[in-house]
């Protein structure tokens, strides 16, 4: 089937399989490898990208469902002026180690922030509970998110 969508502000057209996953489409066809594969069952949050500003797990989201929609990956977000604040907050708190979960986490925080769902401590704890991190122990991520919420 033919797919037309916007990825990181650029229009993309491709002939895809109807069952193709958005994660494979981004990684294999577009070379956007910032979204990582891990659990494959929408638990870990590592493959999170934004579709129309909403976080989705690209490992269980059909590329076909992104038809006509705007997709933002970490590569696109990193080009925006807003990214610098995120970068500085995460660096200051050393809120990353291996870095594998980091792109998904940054996009989740961005989405929460844009939709006003990062206002309270409870928001942060609830909003980030779906992004696993095996390295950091979360405290530093929480602190970086608090800083970005302020």
């Amino acid at each position: 089937m033919d797919l037309a969508l916007t990825v990181n502000g650029r229009e993309v057209r491709a002939a895809i399989e109807p069952h193709e996953l958005l994660l494979d489409f981004l990684r294999d066809r577009l070379g956007l490898t910032g979204a990582k594969r891990s659990c494959d069952v929408q638990v870990c949050g590592t493959c999170t990208v934004l579709v129309e500003g909403q976080p989705v797990s690209a490992c269980t989201y059909l590329a076909a469902d992104a038809q006509g929609r705007r997709v933002l990956t970490i590569e696109g977000f990193a080009q925006s002026p807003e990214f610098e604040r995120f970068e500085e907050a995460f660096l200051r708190h050393a809120a990353l180690q291996c870095g594998y979960c980091t792109p998904g986490l940054l996009l989740t925080i961005k989405s929460l922030r844009d939709s006003g769902e990062l206002a309270s401590e409870a928001d942060i704890r609830h909003g980030l509970d779906g992004n696993l991190c095996r390295c950091t122990g979360y405290r530093s991520i929480l602190e970086a998110a608090r800083e970005l919420a302020a």
């Binding site: 490898t33 870990c44 970490i74 590569e75 990193a78 990353l96 180690q97 291996c98 870095g99 696993l132």
Partner: protein
């Protein structure tokens, strides 16, 4: 009297931001699964659905007929090599030959133009199995009539490291015994005896990036891109397996998405190389989670322990027997067994101790390294018994530890061998006790615990590094340490910068490429900062020597008077920038200074098992927990851990290590468990295998850094990041016992805890169950 003024450190001890931070945050950091090489095929593995069977036949013809399939590998393709590997014991074929010993064992592998085709081909392969009795548990494997899982004569692997391999009896792959003192006398003297049988579950490391390898076998050479922690050991094993020269095997290691031991030693590399050899083209294999779960895991364990004390609680002796389920192949089981045996007595002044650790083959997925192995298995058991002794003697558990813990200089091993204690454990445990409010008032169903242990970090003192100062004054550090999140690229840059008197911003640290990077034994056992860091320091020192030499020629002064500070060479009244100094040395703006640094055994510190660890990694934590009696749910209120690091090169990274270890410890203590039924992992996905989330963060979590500069590494540093893992489950189990619920099985799931509460309610109340 002359007081030697110690130069102030400007880079070391400072929390510099991560060198790899921006690359990782922007999604640019490359992991093996992100990489493609020209002509690369995609590999998929057919894994056995049964835990124990003979292979009657394999029919691959339907798979080969599919468009896009380049090669199908089975055991019959390995007739020209000796296909067994294993760094400890060479007991594992690259791919099942005529028998499968665990569910998940590779039986065939396909290389195809894309992953979907490879998957379809794997499904088209037909295998006939003749099922054999499954030894799915330790009890089944140890039964007197159990069939032997390995009938080949055991052959030592290249990196056994434990001396001679004893005779293997039945399914016992390795036996480790430690005996010291007169246990009979202690038994006769003891007035308090605590004993019991305990269970520790199989656990999955879950590095979020699964095992991934790209291999190319071309002519008499192999090139690998692999997410391995120990590239130089993998290089040697691959060369050995495929009959190649070590130097013709090249391994490049990009960033790793976590390791925690799961990527130590050799994992998916031999199979990927064999498939690439068959296909004649590069092949990439990236595991899915369910495949990595059966690639390696933490050993499940049964343990019987008895602790003996005199009437006032003073510890006299301990006896320990434990059995580790190492799965179908040894992997790192022997070392895990030895390390567990070292952790079994606990760091107490015993008159006698006897430890027997059995590493047992079962028809279960192979077990290997996971952060703080051995110590995590044993510490919670030993510390529960110490608390029980204190309870029976009517002594405060903290006071009993003050009385009986070893002090620096005392022998740690009951037989007196190995390195004596090199840390202030009493000071450490007092700090965590204070941090969890030890003497504060107690509410009902709230308990506090402290735990103390030692991890015999198997940190082999073999590392080389080189430091290269370019003409522009920037620096490259070549060191084989793998960056798996723990931060060596940052720490090594700080060490080199400190020695050269320049900013770490000018230093680049690279991933390992065995063709160019100097040898480093491994990334594990908390050895990187201590040992590889020392090699980097020596290399940077040597570069500094060349600079001083040039400056002394320039100014006609003694080189020892030249200081390197602020990116300049300085003597009183003279200063010159490093780029200008290098230009003086070579007569133009070019050239470079490149020097090596080495750490090797110098007598008594070979890192061999017998000589004991290079340093004892300290495992100390405290916890305060609340249990909900109606549900059995445990809430972790407070944790405190000790990072007894000698010297924190980057304090923020040290804290992150212990915070990460704390959460992994909470997961292991409270809910992580691979549920094995007849050898099958019944929860092989992240929906059913739960790891800690943000909401599992304790209400308060403290990481306390202790810097006594008593380590063998640079600036007195020693390893960290594992100890807290062993200590946290122990502190939680002790805190739960203090709250009135002593448990003998991990994880402490609500159901288990609730059942125990019901069971205890039916028994006469223990004094400590009534709280005010």
């Amino acid at each position: 009297m002359t007081v030697l003024e110690r130069p102030r450190l400007t880079e070391v001890g400072v929390s510099r931001p991560r060198k790899d931070g921006r690359e990782k945050l922007s999604g640019q950091a490359q992991y093996v699964g992100d990489m493609e090489v020209a002509g690369m095929l995609h590999g998929k593995v057919l894994r056995s659905p049964v835990a124990h069977a003979g292979i009657e036949s394999i029919n691959v013809s339907a798979a080969l007929e599919l468009d896009g399939v380049a090669a199908v590998l089975t055991g019959s393709d390995l007739d020209d090599i000796e296909p067994y590997y294993g760094h400890a014991i060479k007991d594992r074929p690259i791919i099942a030959l005529d028998r499968v010993r665990f569910a998940g064992e590779p039986v065939a592998a396909v290389a195809a133009l894309d992953e979907a085709t490879a998957e379809a081909a794997v499904r088209a392969i037909q295998v006939e199995y003749e099922e054999l009795p499954v030894l799915g548990t330790l009890e089944q494997a140890l039964a007197s009539d159990a069939p032997r899982l390995h009938d080949r004569r055991p052959e030592l692997g290249l990196f056994h490291g434990l001396g001679e391999l004893g005779e293997q009896r039945g399914n016992v792959c390795y036996l480790h015994t430690i005996v010291g003192g007169d246990i009979e006398r202690a038994r006769a003297e003891a007035e308090i005896t605590v004993e019991g049988t305990y269970t520790f579950p199989a656990v999955y490391q879950y590095a979020m990036e699964t095992h991934a390898t790209i291999a190319h076998h071309h002519g008499d050479a192999v090139t690998l891109w692999a997410n391995c922690q120990h590239p130089f050991l993998v290089q040697a094993e691959i060369a050995d397996l495929f009959g190649l020269e070590v130097g013709s095997v090249r391994i490049m290691v990009p960033y790793l998405g976590g390791g925690f031991g799961s990527k130590s030693y050799t994992k998916m590399e031999p199979l990927t190389v064999a498939l690439a050899r068959k296909a004649g083209r590069p092949v990439r294999i990236v595991n899915r989670v369910e495949e990595s779960m059966v690639t390696t895991r933490r050993h499940g364990m049964r343990c019987w322990m008895r602790t003996m004390a005199d009437r006032d609680g003073t510890l006299l002796a301990r006896e320990v027997h434990f059995w580790l389920d190492t799965g179908a192949y040894a992997d790192n089981g022997p070392r895990v067994t030895a390390t567990a045996a070292d952790a079994a007595p606990g760091p107490y002044r015993f008159e006698a101790a006897e430890v027997q650790g059995y590493c047992v083959y079962c028809n279960t997925p192979p077990s290997g390294s996971y952060r703080a192995f051995g110590a995590t298995h044993l510490q919670w058991i030993g510390e529960l018994q110490v608390d029980e002794v204190a309870h029976r003697a009517g002594v405060d558990p903290l006071e009993l530890r003050r009385r009986c813990l070893l002090v620096p200089g005392e022998p740690v091993r009951p037989d007196g061998s190995g390195k004596p204690l090199d840390a202030d454990l009493i000071g450490d445990v007092e700090r965590v006790a204070a941090a969890v409010g030890w003497d504060g008032p107690r509410r009902a169903w709230v308990g506090r615990g402290v735990s103390v242990g030692l991890l015999a970090a198997g940190a082999h003192p073999v590392s080389r590094a080189s430091v290269r100062l370019s003409a522009d004054g920037s620096v490259d550090v070549y060191v084989g340490t793998t960056e798996l999140g723990q931060g060596p690229r940052t720490v090594m840059a700080q060490i080199a910068a400190e020695e050269l008197g320049l900013s770490s911003e000018l230093v680049r640290v690279h991933g390992a490429d065995t063709r160019f990077t100097p040898y480093d034994r491994s990334t594990g056992a908390s050895r990187s900062t201590t040992i590889a860091g020392l090699a980097v320091k020596r290399a940077a020192d040597a570069v500094g020597e060349r600079l001083r030499e040039t400056a002394s020629e320039l100014w006609d002064v003694d080189p020892t008077l030249v200081e390197l500070v602020g990116g300049q060479a300085v003597v009183s009244g003279e200063e010159i920038s490093l780029p200008d100094l290098i230009a003086k040395r070579f007569g133009f703006r070019g050239g470079e200074i490149i020097e090596g640094g080495e750490v090797r055994p110098t007598g008594g510190d070979t890192g061999s098992y017998a000589e004991g660890p290079y340093f004892w990694e300290v495992c100390v934590a405290g916890a305060e927990v609340e249990v909900e009696p109606e549900t059995g749910v445990i809430n972790v209120l407070r944790t405190a851990t000790i990072a007894d690091v000698g010297k924190a090169i980057n304090p923020q990274l040290v804290e992150r290590q212990d915070e990460g270890a704390t959460l992994q410890g909470i997961g292991n203590a409270l809910f992580e468990e691979m549920r094995l039924v007849d050898g099958l992992v019944t929860n092989d996905n992240l929906l059913e295998y739960r790891i800690p989330r943000l909401s599992d963060l304790p209400q308060r979590m403290r990481s306390i850094i202790v810097e006594n500069e008593d380590g063998p590494g640079p600036y007195g540093a020693k390893g960290c990041g594992e100890g807290a893992f062993a200590a946290v489950p122990a502190a939680i189990a002790c805190a739960l016992a203090d709250a009135g619920v002593p448990m003998r099985e991990l994880p402490l799931t609500p159901e288990r805890v609730w059942r125990r509460i019901q069971e205890l309610a039916g028994q006469p109340q223990r004094e400590d169950q009534s709280h005010d």
